[in-house]
């Protein structure tokens, strides 16, 4: 039984991203493609997403010209490939508040957004610090904060404090405090809806960029290797990796890093006319494949 269809939707990519930025210690070891993706969860009468991508109007030109980000397409175009409209999305889980994960809030006018309260309150604390602490503001777009104010005014911002089960049937959120960011979280989909699920997926945001973070360089002798960028502690990143991998029964490939290009080697996928990949992790009972 599959309660939900799950798709990873690429919306832009950096063709040549230094591996050292993703996997701790991989200095001078070349580059890899870094896709920018969000996740669609559809089933049980629900249409939800994990993260929403960055705001092209605000950042597209700089990211394209200075950072080599290519192929950005709007949620309308990207989601249209699987027959979904942004206005139909009802629930969105923001894994953390970096601009490339929450910048497109305005494109989802009917969605309720779930964010860890700590992610918001620690922003505010960080902003009160002297200028010499500005590194701690990395990846935060002040315009996103103002959009979050609007969400709160409209009653569409849900501040979560820690773990919460069954936010949607079989969909849980888990706090990962002081890791990649102050209040990161990951999302678990128990796709058989069972308490002790045998078919869970974990959507980890930037708590892992690639599978090396979750199993090291030698799959026969696995180890956790921290990500290349953490505001919090690498110890917490590693312990969160353990929690995520345990929650999927040790099958690291059921932990889904949205920036991992090699998902295509594990799950069926297709490339759209716009050159973007759609990866299909699961199909709800009765749902038609979008990649066949």
């Amino acid at each position: 039984m599959s309660a939900y269809s799950l798709w990873v939707m690429e919306y832009a990519a950096v063709p040549d991203y230094p591996q050292s930025g993703l996997i701790y210690g991989m200095h001078n070891q070349g580059t890899r493609k870094l896709p920018y993706c969000y996740v669609v969860i559809k089933g049980q009468g629900q249409l939800a997403m994990v993260d929403v991508g960055y705001n092209h109007k605000a950042h597209g030109e700089v990211l394209a010209n200075t950072y080599g980000v290519r192929g950005w397409h709007s949620p309308r175009e990207v989601l249209g490939e699987i027959g979904i409209q942004p206005q139909d999305v009802s629930n969105i889980f923001i894994t953390h508040c970096h601009f490339d994960h929450m910048g497109n809030i305005e494109d989802f006018p009917n969605a309720r957004f779930y964010i860890q309260e700590r992610e918001l309150s620690k922003w505010v604390w960080t902003m009160s610090l002297e200028r010499r602490f500005r590194w701690l503001m990395l990846g935060i777009d002040p315009a996103d904060i103002m959009r979050a104010v609007d969400l709160a005014r409209q009653g569409r911002l849900v501040c979560v404090d820690g773990d919460r089960e069954n936010v949607l049937p079989g969909v849980d959120v888990h706090a990962a405090f002081d890791t990649h960011t102050w209040g990161s979280m990951y999302v678990t989909v128990r796709n058989d809806l069972a308490t002790n699920s045998q078919s869970s997926f974990v959507f980890c945001g930037d708590l892992a960029y690639g599978y090396e973070n979750l199993r090291g360089h030698d799959p026969k002798d696995p180890e956790y290797i921290p990500i290349g960028l953490a505001t919090g502690s690498q110890f917490n990143v590693i312990m969160t990796a353990e929690a995520m991998v345990k929650s999927v029964g040790g099958d690291v490939h059921r932990v889904i890093p949205p920036h991992e290009e090699r998902l295509k080697d594990l799950y069926p996928s297709r490339i759209t006319k716009a050159g973007l990949r759609i990866t299909e992790l699961a199909l709800a009972d009765g749902e038609k494949s979008q990649v066949a």
Binding site: V14, D16, Y17, P18, S20, G21, L22, L34, A58, H59, V62, L63, N65, T66, Y67, G68, V69, H98, F99, D100, E117, L120, S121, W123, V124, W125, M127, S128, R131, R134, W135, M137, L138, G139, I140, D141, P142, A143, I145, M146, A148, V149, D150, A152, R153, L157, C159, D206, G228, L229, H259
Partner: protein, 138 residues
């Protein structure tokens, strides 16, 4: 091409731009908490004190700025941003009324975004320190 006088203007006014951006962020952050119903969000929150101090520094710097013709549009956006963000700060003195503060604040931040687009050297966010930072190509 940027002439020398304009380059000097850019260097001298980066801190002013960053300070205004920081003040806008601080105020917006408090508004999120206020709109979400947090008890922490009040006019005596230490973040607001820091914001007012930083705004004074930015405002002083703006008065000292000497824009070239090339820098004039940037300066005008920056000055407009300061006026609007200053108005938002004034609104926050006694009560954190989200609706009344957000209108000038958002307009002020939009002016900052226009300023960032008007001259090189003024970043809306610190891309270099974000996830994409490692991909810098120029």
């Amino acid at each position: 091409m940027i002439d020398e006088a304009t380059a000097a203007y850019i260097v001298e006014n980066q801190k002013c731009f960053e300070d205004l951006k920081q003040v806008a962020s601080q105020l917006a952050g408090l508004l999120v908490l206020a709109a979400a119903g947090s008890k922490e969000a009040a006019p005596d929150h230490p973040t607001l004190g820091a914001a007012r101090e930083r705004f004074r520094e930015a405002d002083d710097a703006l008065r000292r700025a000497r824009p070239t013709d090339r820098a004039r549009p940037h300066y005008e956006h920056l000055a407009q941003a300061a006026a609007l963000i200053g108005a938002a700060l004034k609104e926050s003195r006694e009560v954190l009324n989200v609706d009344r503060i957000l209108i000038p604040l958002r307009a002020g931040y939009t002016e900052l975004e226009h300023a960032a687009d008007a001259l090189p050297g003024f970043q809306k966010i610190a891309y270099d320190r974000a996830c994409c930072g490692g991909a810098r190509i120029q």
